[in-house]
Symmetry: C2
Subunit: 190 residues, 2 copies
Amino acid sequence: MKKDRPATEKKIYDAFLSILKVKGPQGVGINAIAKEAGVSKELIYRYFGGLKGLLLQYAQKGDFFKSLLVLDDKEKSSVEDLKQFAKEGTKELRENKLTQEILRWQLLENNKETKDLFKYTNSQIGKIFAISDKDTSLNHAFQLMIGGYVYFTLLSKFNKTFITTDLTKEETWAKFDKALEKTIDLFNEK
Amino acid sequence: MKKDRPATEKKIYDAFLSILKVKGPQGVGINAIAKEAGVSKELIYRYFGGLKGLLLQYAQKGDFFKSLLVLDDKEKSSVEDLKQFAKEGTKELRENKLTQEILRWQLLENNKETKDLFKYTNSQIGKIFAISDKDTSLNHAFQLMIGGYVYFTLLSKFNKTFITTDLTKEETWAKFDKALEKTIDLFNEK
DNA sequence: AAAATATGTTACCGGGTGGTTACAAATATA
DNA sequence: TATATTTGTAACCACCCGGTAACATATTTT
């Protein structure tokens, strides 16, 4: 029984991330994390201050939504940025299971513990929508479509199809991308 | 202690609906239903065959998505139908808490018990998207936007705002409607 | 009226949860 | 080396879950 606090903390934190990714927010619990980490749960309370402390640290670290930060250095986004995000950002969303579970989490609850967590997530997405002409229909249409993208991505975990649309085929997502891009163009031409 | 099975069954069923509407899918459980109904949970097993039997009966009864069936008598939907649905259907979605929780449920799990439940829900939404030209970008764009509508509706239960968008104001939803309608028009003119 | 059946309640089971306390062992400090 | 302190484990608590068995009471049938 070696004693190495940093290593133990990492085991706990990694277990937390792993469970969140695999089982989703519902699977995140003191016992589950302790078991996954192969460590006594008492240590989670000692080192992180319980589950809520673990969440807070997670929020501050900001390990989520990494690759959506392509526009991080810009103040506002242009129409071209929108198209870039539509292509790359959505693809990344489909691959980043962790981000998906965070987004799913926001649809389930929003208590004091998780509020901080979501604050960071949202501030990052926010930049995308900071297009100059705020009141145009394009902005709202874009928001709706991104929301739909999120919705279908989360839905694809349990539902292989949405009505007649096969959510497992890459081709489907390509059509969504195309529709998104075309919509942006149509609004822009107008 | 009067004995009235039909009345008891109704108490159980109503308790189930109430819990689903108020607490959401997370709150639905044998114990919670029994307590809410003010009845022994044993009776749920006897009369409904447990929670899964209760779900099945619920699905067959089809108490959800009532007012989205405006297009029920039509084979396929036209562009005008799309616009009508965009206006009325989405508004109804925001008001029908029960439907919202069903949709939220689909983002959480899809096991053998809930599969039948969702099957009915989806078959009803499906008609909306049965527009003639299936492969156009309009169809996918429309799907995305409806998905976004669902997403923001579910999100509004816990999050008052999405980034800078105030999900509590009626004005916001009006803008979403307008964006949806305009998108349909733009695709149609092309 | 007596027996059978339907209805309803109570108590229990095994298992899981979050949280705390008591204790053992390794490491650091004196 | 002897003493503190830190690190880690195990046992326990009260509470919830889904599920079942045992029992009591009302209603119907014979």
